[in-house]
């Protein structure tokens, strides 16, 4: 009982502190950055979506490490789920008789729509909300749904991880191309005064690469989970 009271007091304190910090936020707030991005964002980067503009142009250096974190996480998951003994029966374990038929049928219906929506979010990342990471996550969910439809599907984790690493290297190369055209690393490789449509080519390319990288990374993570415990 006393533990319960302590827990509730802690939760209450957290709530009060959080509310107070939200009130204090007004005094800390300034909008120089916001105004700058609103004014120059589209002209500088050719992206209607200012989040993508910051992510793939102004702060591309940070984004590269964010993509790297996912790669490290994937490596960690694979390392933990690695088995020394070669498993005789390493098939997937979503049992046919345990997955409801309604779920399987509905998945068949939804799967192509999810895939299409994922690619839409990836390719339209510079025009509408979304981008490589979000679209990649949606595509990965679609692939995960596929395992519920076809339980006996076999996947080669090694191949997926290799492709993911190659795509990550491609992202770094594409991001570094600007050293030859603009003289600085990690920005758009088209000239600063090029038209927004031209600059969008670079954004779409990078978004597609990041989308594939994220989709493959998440695919690897849940493939490792599926194989575990068989």
């Amino acid at each position: 009982m006393s533990r319960k009271i302590i827990l509730l007091t802690l939760l209450g304190t957290l709530f009060v502190v959080f509310t107070m910090s939200m009130i204090e936020l007004e005094t800390l707030y300034n909008d120089y950055g916001k105004l700058y991005f609103l004014e120059n964002g589209f002209a500088d980067t050719g992206s209607r979506n200012l989040v993508t503009a910051i992510l793939l142009d102004y702060r591309l250096f940070d984004s590269l490490f964010e993509a790297g974190i996912l790669l490290i996480a994937v490596s960690g998951v694979i390392w933990i789920s690695k088995h020394d003994i070669e498993e005789k029966n390493a098939q997937f374990m979503i049992d046919k008789y345990k997955t409801p038929d309604l779920f399987v049928t509905f998945s068949r219906l939804v799967y192509p729509l999810m895939l299409t929506f994922g690619f839409y979010v990836i390719i339209n990342g510079h025009l509408s909300p979304g981008g490589g990471f979000q679209g990649g996550a949606i595509v990965a969910t679609a692939i995960l749904i596929l395992y519920y439809i076809d339980a006996d599907k076999e996947t080669n984790i090694g191949l997926i991880v290799t492709v993911e690493k190659i795509i990550y290297l491609l992202i770094i190369v594409l991001a570094s191309l600007s050293i030859f055209t603009r003289g600085t690393f990690f920005t758009n490789f088209f000239a600063l005064d090029a038209s927004p449509d031209t600059k969008a080519i670079y954004l779409v390319l990078l978004n597609v690469l990041i989308g594939f990288k994220v989709a493959l990374g998440l695919w690897t993570i849940f493939t490792a989970f599926l194989k575990e415990g068989r």
């Binding site: 374990m93 990965a140 989970f225 599926l226």
Partner: protein, 197 residues
């Protein structure tokens, strides 16, 4: 303060209501015992968070939250929970119920083997002396704190074999149905205790 409340628009009220809902869902996740319910609650937590992001003009983050928080993570949890495929039995009876002549040929072993084969589980019988030496009263704590699914003991007065397990474990209900024809086997299910009790 009153002015502040009357100036709020509908969208602000929605935001406050969603924030309170978020707190309730978070407490429910902590307090619930059933894994399936917790997964659904986690998914709904992400959904409410995503709608709060949309209200605060962050659709990019909302899409990521919906895709990861309410699709991938619940599905991964479902997979991991369905992967718990080991049925661990602690044998405290110490007679020929399970092990006779140093071999797994007892009546109880055949019963449990048939049971675990039926549910595609891997039967793992242990008589770890450290765990076996604990008294009768510690059985419930043993079930809760370790990954032992079932404890087999013998009642010295009635010569009945007692199978003990957690009531929240769905396998215990199946085991009770299966063993109700055996007159010398009794099943005891421990009720789950509240958090912190």
């Amino acid at each position: 303060m009153l002015n502040y409340i009357t100036d709020l628009s509908l969208i602000d009220y929605t935001a406050y209501a969603l924030q309170f809902l978020l707190i309730f869902i978070a407490i429910a996740i902590v307090l619930h015992k059933n894994n399936g319910t917790i997964i659904i609650l986690i998914a709904s937590f992400s959904l409410v968070t995503a709608s709060l992001y949309v209200i605060n003009n962050a659709p990019d983050v909302a899409i990521a939250e919906v895709a990861i928080g309410s699709a991938i993570i619940p599905l991964i949890y479902v997979i991991s929970i369905s992967r718990q495929r080991e049925f661990i039995v602690l044998d405290k009876a110490m007679d020929d119920f399970i092990i006779s002549d140093n071999q797994f040929t007892g009546v109880g072993y055949v019963l449990l083997k048939r049971f675990s084969d039926f549910y595609h589980l891997e039967l793992n019988i242990t008589n770890d002396p450290l765990l076996c030496r604990l008294g009768e009263g510690k059985d419930q704590i043993l079930c809760e704190e370790t990954n032992v699914d079932l404890i087999v003991t013998k009642d010295p007065t009635t010569n009945e074999y007692v199978l003990k397990g957690k009531a929240s474990n769905i396998l215990m209900q199946k085991l009770e149905q299966m063993t109700k024809d055996y007159h010398n086997i009794k099943v005891i299910k421990f009720k789950d205790r509240d958090f912190g009790e």
